[in-house]
């Protein structure tokens, strides 16, 4: 089981702050996970439509789209940061 968490407009589009699911064995990279999210229905298709701008963190550490998921237990999806 993997916890997926969403922030800002990604959270609003998905419609929930987090969910815990089983990822398919075939999904082993961040890029593959973003592609898979798009296949989970209209809501997800919309939320991940512009996947190239979505940032991902694996267990609270920034990860590039080419990164392997490894054994991450919490995967976060969010827009580029605008703090400070």
């Amino acid at each position: 089981m993997t916890k997926l968490v969403y922030f800002a407009w990604v959270r609003e589009r998905v419609g929930k702050p987090d969910e815990t699911i089983d990822l398919p064995d075939s999904v082993t990279t961040v890029a593959a996970l973003l592609d898979w999210q798009k296949t989970r229905g209209e809501v997800y298709a919309h939320a991940f439509e512009h996947a190239s701008v979505i940032r991902v963190a694996l267990d609270k550490t920034h990860a590039g789209h080419d990164a392997a998921l490894g054994d991450a237990r919490e995967i976060a999806f969010f827009p580029p940061m605008t703090g400070g």
Binding site: F7, P80, M81, T82, G84
Partner: protein, 156 residues
């Protein structure tokens, strides 16, 4: 209030306002080897009177971790005698403080560069997102990230 332990640095993510003089005193207390302190305070602008408040969402846990990683990089790069980073979340009214970075060193150059670096990296790496709430009662869009912030961070 949540804290993160980075030796030589104070990192906090909090809803409440912070006290700049108290945070500065914490850095200087009991020592006389500091030659320069740079304190940067980021404030909420009213955007020409349009804005009622900024909403700051953050990723608890990762926000502390990421600012801690940025602080460790700064501590390794400059000979600092004190480093503080405090970032607020929640609803923040125009004129209120949002973020504080304090850097202290024996000489001013390190203090200026470290504070500047911390802010550039906070902007582009710390998981915070801003949304505008307007005077007219509507909620604006999420603030978009700026290419100039990425360019600023790339300087280092």
């Amino acid at each position: 209030m949540q804290g993160r332990s980075v030796p030589g640095a104070t990192i906090r993510i909090q809803r409440d306002p912070f006290d700049v003089p108290a945070e500065t005193a914490r850095v200087t207390a009991g020592r006389a080897d500091i030659g320069g302190i740079v304190a940067f305070t980021g404030l909420c602008r009213d955007e020409g009177g349009r804005l009622r408040a900024l909403e700051l969402e953050h990723y608890p846990g990762m926000a502390e971790d990421e600012i801690g990683r940025v602080a460790q990089t700064a501590l390794a790069r400059w000979p600092l005698l004190g480093l503080t980073a405090i970032h607020r979340f929640g609803m923040i009214a125009p004129g209120e403080d949002i973020v504080l970075v304090i850097a202290a060193s024996a000489h001013r150059r390190a203090a200026f560069e470290a504070a500047d670096f911390m802010m550039d990296y906070l902007k582009t790496r710390a998981p915070f997102w801003k949304r505008e709430h307007l005077i007219d009662g509507t909620t604006g869009a999420w603030v978009e990230s700026k290419a100039e912030d990425d360019a600023a961070a790339a300087r280092w």
